[in-house]
């Protein structure tokens, strides 16, 4: 028999695996939050309240006997007739009888709204955000943040790491026999110091045809838009516009609270947006985004005028997003969604979406604020 003191494990990676696990759970949480984005309790919970998210799906499935059935054996001084286990109705954390519950993982994560938003918004970005006024503010930063296989300056640490990894792959993890293939170089990128000034126009149909439910969905949608912008792009200007047959610029509380009546003439809103942009947010200095929700019940005669205005706006805006909130969901021929589907399908910078219920708000939001690789660097 031998006692070996200093024999390390060939692979010790418990901690690394634990991180992988946390990452997986985190993604499951995001998945489930997205399902619930429309639910009132998330929105209503406000920044103070905490949110309980039960996370399932990390369960290890297997065939087991019915958990609420059958018999077993235990040890102790219990007498026939005694009832053991946590009192009925006990919640979550109660120590169950060990062995009676399979390896089930249910997390009840208490998140405050900041975390919730952080999780959700990490998947969103303002698309096509361009640096403005780059000509007269030609600042660049040189950032050494990369490792490459060629370059002017050897990164010793990375080289040794590569050497170690290569030796380890061949069976014996040690540093030595540094070869040309191990060499790693510091690499830099010239990063422009951009100024991403942006203005977002939130345009909401507040006409009579927007019933209680549709209004609620539209407000929910804008609530998340505004939260997202404030959280991730704090330099962004937000302009609120409401419209019936005519359009007004509104304050934020007005926008979220006001109820109007009357018909719908969508073009009025786009006219106003175009005007505000020209007057206050010239395209050469500001990235502009337009988000518009409506039930799509526009005066048919107004549709072509609306499209004209959108086409004109699209030349100076990074994105025009149109969301039709409606219980039916699909693009309907007599509604704006149908009209856009027929006439504006290929219009660059224009995205139309529909949402039949709360659950479809998140996919719409994601459609508008699709995150692309390139933009990831600047968004954070």
């Amino acid at each position: 028999m031998t006692v070996v003191a200093d024999d390390a494990l060939p692979r010790e990676q418990g901690r690394r695996d634990a991180l992988h696990h946390r990452d997986r759970v985190r993604r499951k949480i995001v998945e489930q939050l997205k399902q619930r984005i429309g639910e009132e309790d998330i929105v209503a919970s406000g920044p103070e309240k905490k949110l309980r998210v039960p996370v399932k799906g990390t369960r290890q499935w297997r065939f087991i006997f019915d958990r609420g059935e059958g018999s077993g054996v235990g040890q102790g001084d219990a007498e026939p007739g005694d009832v053991l286990g946590p009192p009925s109705g006990a919640d979550g954390d109660g120590e169950g009888l060990a062995g009676s519950e399979p390896g089930e993982e249910t997390y009840e994560v208490w998140l405050d709204m900041r975390d919730v938003e952080e999780l959700l918004f990490s998947e969103l970005a303002l698309p096509r955000l361009k640096a403005k006024q780059a000509a007269d503010l030609a600042e660049t930063d040189i950032v050494y943040n990369d490792i490459a296989r060629t370059g002017p300056q050897v990164d010793k640490k990375a080289t040794l790491r590569a050497n170690l990894a290569r030796n380890a792959r061949r069976g014996h993890a040690h540093v030595g026999d540094v070869d040309r293939v191990d060499l790693r170089y510091l690499s830099y990128r010239e990063q422009p110091k951009p100024r991403h000034r942006a203005v977002v126009f939130c345009v909401m149909d507040i006409s009579a045809s927007m019933g209680t439910d549709r209004k609620r969905m539209a407000r929910l949608f804008f609530y998340w838009c505004v939260q997202f912008l404030r959280r991730r792009y704090d330099q962004t200007e937000i302009v609120f516009v409401g419209h019936t047959t005519e359009a007004w610029e509104m304050s934020e509380p007005e926008f979220f609270g006001r109820v109007e009546s009357g018909g719908t003439r969508v073009s009025s809103a786009y006219e106003l947006v175009g005007e505000i942009q020209r007057r206050r947010f010239p395209a050469q200095e500001w990235n502009a985004y337009v988000l518009h929700t409506s039930d799509g019940d526009n005066f048919t005669a107004d549709n072509h005028r609306t499209l004209e205005l959108i086409e004109r706006l699209a030349t100076s805006c990074s994105l025009i997003g149109y969301l039709e909130v409606d219980s039916s969901g699909a693009a309907q021929p007599y509604k704006l969604s149908g009209f856009f589907a027929a006439h504006a399908r290929d219009l660059d910078g224009f995205v139309a979406a529909t949402a039949a219920n709360d659950r479809e708000l998140w996919p719409a939001l994601k459609q508008f604020f699709a995150k692309h690789e390139v933009e990831e660097a600047v968004a954070s």
Binding site: R11, R62, G74, G85
Partner: protein
């Protein structure tokens, strides 16, 4: 106990030599053991994986962080882990006190003897560690190539059924023997009957050959690996890895009570003979008590194991009349030798069947309980009668608590679906958990590429659960 241990490796070596000598006096020839002193992070890494160096998985990560957290908070402590290899490897927590190491080393001697002598461990691959390590490296490669999530999901799906391996590893199933049409003496007298009989046999044989699997197949993962279409090479490799690593654990599941019982017996007997000074002996007794204390609401295999083995030793030396009649060796056997005889061939089921006497039941404070309907976490104690307790324990240990499920048709109704049969061990066996059955079947369907069905009985009515590859599942009371 968390203070720096006041001993050297040489101390442990000496301790180990003394333990080995005492074990030999008692008749236990202990095979060579290599001890490794390890940090808690390493110990808990092995504990989470079951074997050192096993592949990376967030499932292991979850177990690791949970258990290591318990350790850091002082709520639990793994003193030792032992692996059945050649030589046996034991991993000792380097923060253990000298007394704890003493107990652990004596305890490991028992396990090592058991590994070496129990017939249930004969099929074990004693060179598993290098294989485990190279498998881990291959899986790393698959993760790099196909994405970590994809590989992990696949591993999870395989893990769901890996434990369903043929349980009687010692018994090789006989090839189905075709009835041979032997010429019989009076054949000529009944030509038509003989011709008809031969035709029937030929037809049955053809049917059996055409059926896949020819006989019900309890090896779920192995069968799918061999027969599923559309699996990629890396997926088959992962299946083979998980299958063979699970095979390592099967004998341990089968002999948990006997194995732990023997290890406790060894550490108790050896430590008694080490003549520890009073303060150390006191610490030893406390540790020993914490190892064998009963757990309310479940069975502590250390406790039940040592209680049964001590009972065998008592019967060997001081049997009553009834016991004398029942066991030929009662009253005339060397107690340690009798324990060894039992441990060489008995698995837990056999051990319980024969030696769970009323005295053992009483000493281990065993009771049978029944689940309260509608509240899976609460139970009602139903009996302290030995027979009732034994029935339940045997039923559990006959299948290690795993429902017995077999593949009976790999082309169900010509649709390529996999049809499974749940074979209840008796009327007392509870039905399958519906939620878990459906979840598992969905995972299986992903592996199989087509729907997988299991037939079972719930509340005396036949029921079928179906899992589909795209993730949905259902329950029906008519054959799908």
């Amino acid at each position: 106990m968390s203070s720096a241990p006041a001993y050297t490796v040489a101390d442990l070596q000496e301790l180990d030599d003394r333990c080995e000598a005492i074990a030999a006096q008692l008749g236990f020839e202990v095979p060579p053991i290599v001890y490794h002193l390890m940090r808690s992070t390493e110990i808990y890494d092995i504990a989470a994986r079951g074997l050192p160096g096993r592949y990376s998985s967030s499932r292991f990560g979850a177990a690791y962080s949970q258990q290591h957290e318990q350790y850091r908070m002082g709520r639990s402590r793994i003193y030792e882990l032992i692996v059945n290899t050649e030589p046996v490897r034991a991993y000792l927590l380097d923060g253990n006190s000298l007394v704890a190491q003493t107990l652990v080393i004596a305890h490991c001697a028992g396990h090592a003897w058991f590994f070496d002598n129990s017939c249930w461990f004969e099929p074990t691959d004693r060179a598993i560690l290098p294989r485990v390590r190279s498998a881990a490296e291959r899986i790393d490669g698959y993760m790099a190539e196909h994405g970590r999530d994809r590989v992990e999901d696949f591993i999870d799906a395989c893990t769901a059924i890996a434990i369903h391996q043929p349980q009687a590893q010692m018994v090789r199933r006989a090839e189905p023997v075709d009835e041979v049409e032997r010429p019989q003496r009076y054949d000529r007298l009944f030509p038509e009957e003989v011709a008809a009989e031969r035709e029937r046999l030929a037809r049955e044989r053809a049917e059996r050959r055409a059926r896949v699997p020819a006989e019900p197949e309890p090896d779920l993962l192995g069968f799918i690996e061999g027969h599923a279409r559309g699996l990629e090479d890396w997926q088959r490799d992962v299946m083979t890895i998980l299958h063979s690593e699970q095979a390592y654990f099967m004998p341990q599941l089968r002999t948990k009570i006997a194995n732990e019982g023997l290890a406790v017996l060894c550490h108790q007997e050896i430590c008694q003979r080490l003549f520890l000074p009073t303060d150390r002996y006191w610490e030893y007794e406390q540790l020993n008590a914490s190892v064998v204390q009963p757990h309310l609401g479940q069975v502590n295999p250390y406790n039940l194991g040592i209680t049964i083995l001590r009972e065998i030793m008592r019967i060997a030396t001081e049997p009553d009349e009834e016991e004398r009649e029942r066991w030929a060796w009662a009253g005339s056997a060397d107690p340690f030798e009798q324990v060894r005889t039992v441990c060489r061939t008995y698995d837990d089921e056999a051990l319980l069947r024969e030696f769970l006497t009323p005295a053992v039941c009483e000493r281990a404070r065993l009771f049978a309980f029944e689940h309260l309907h509608g509240d899976p976490r609460r139970v009602r104690v139903s009996s302290r009668e030995c027979d009732a307790v034994r029935d339940v324990l045997i039923r559990q240990h006959a299948t290690f608590g795993i429902p017995h499920i077999e593949i009976v048709d790999a082309d169900y109704r010509g649709r390529g679906q996999l049809y499974l049969e749940h074979r209840a061990a008796g009327e007392e066996e509870p039905s399958l958990d519906p939620e878990y059955a459906r979840g598992t079947l969905t995972q299986m369907a992903v592996l199989w590429g087509r729907p997988v069905i299991v037939h079972t009985v719930k509340d005396d009515e036949p029921v079928w659960y179906v899992g589909h590859p795209h993730g949905s599942s259902e329950e029906t009371d008519e054959a799908p």
